[in-house]
Amino acid sequence: MERYLRSALIAVALLLLQTTFIPYLSIAGYLPDIFLPWLIFVALRRGQIESTVSGFAVGLLQDIVATQFLGLAAFSKTLTGFIAGYFFHENQVGQNLGTYRYVLLVMLGSVIHNLVYFLIFFQGTEGSVVLSTIQASAATTLYTAVISVLPMFGFSQRYHTSWAQ
């Protein structure tokens, strides 16, 4: 129970950060999605079911406070959490979290999430939906992956692993 409460608090804290601090890190209008590194962490640490539910929960939370489509972030993050859950290995938590593999998984999760998200998001807008999706996905994925280096170093210290391992 305590674990879920802690997860909920972390989600709320991330939401506040995403809406207050992160917008100041905007580069050419693109922002990193700090929920994704956390979601990948949940997937690698706790497994597929928890990451799927977490993805849905934080996505829904994001949807509720955003003025965009309700359910869109929930949909894409549920899918991301589910796919990321395939990389859960109980005996390799430290190796997965404290090394560059974590960044690669964040990148993979981000690609999946952003492709789904932006493909629906750009529907009905002027211009090429595919081009806009690729552009936004690439930028956001790269930025999110760069941001995920910070927790990777943290996990590396926590699990006593070398990040280049």
Partner: protein
Amino acid sequence: MVQRIYDILFALREYVLLSVLLIVSLILLSLNDNVQIKSIRSFATIVLGVGQDQLSFISNYFGLKRENELLRRVNIELADQANQLREAKLENLRLRQMVGLREQSQYSLVAAKVIGKNLTLLRNTLTLDLGAVDSVREQMPVVSEAGLVGVVVAVSDHYSVINIVPNVDFRASVKVQRSRVDGILAWDGKSLMLKNVAKTLDVKNGDVLITSEYSSMFPQGIRVGIVSEVTEQEGTLFKSVTIAPAVDFVKLEEVFVILATPNAERLELDQRAHQRFGR
């Protein structure tokens, strides 16, 4: 049968869960315009707003430098505009007052700009941008909309120098407007004084002083100043009356020269009176 379904669902629980959550998400996507959903979202926005408010110092900190630069630039622009407006307003006010003064005066007045100031306590003078070619002559009175400024003491073709009221060489015959008490206005190097006022005469703080009809140099009725202090001098018959000049000489920018030279005969008489009463 139920047990078998349960077993299958349990075996495929990840997929079942994923399907349920995706279906819920899709349902939510179709309910975007629902009134209840909008209410929930607005409530969530309010709750988040409280949190954001507590964390606003973060955005404040990050936006501070940019905001500072912007505000500084805007401040400079506005200060510049305000200065221009203030200058225009003051000039407008001065010119209006001067036009009013010119219209009221029975004398011929010529406007001059103060182009130099020599405020050294004892012999304070102003330099004007008018000279002999503008019909300015020595001994001509100089006034502003506020009152008496001084008298022309030196003239070149295009410039003139005036002894202003706070000058040890300046004298003027003045009177208290209220009680009609006469006296001689003089600058002692520190204060403007009304001299030769007997202790029995009625002079009070706040009394307005104007040029007297006895003055051979200045037209009658020009405002000179206000009595700021009256003290009894022990061992003498006179009061010590300190005057606050009507004109702010530090801020003075435009004046009028009264194109009228004093009557020589009266001037001579006045000078004799100065010599008699002494400084």
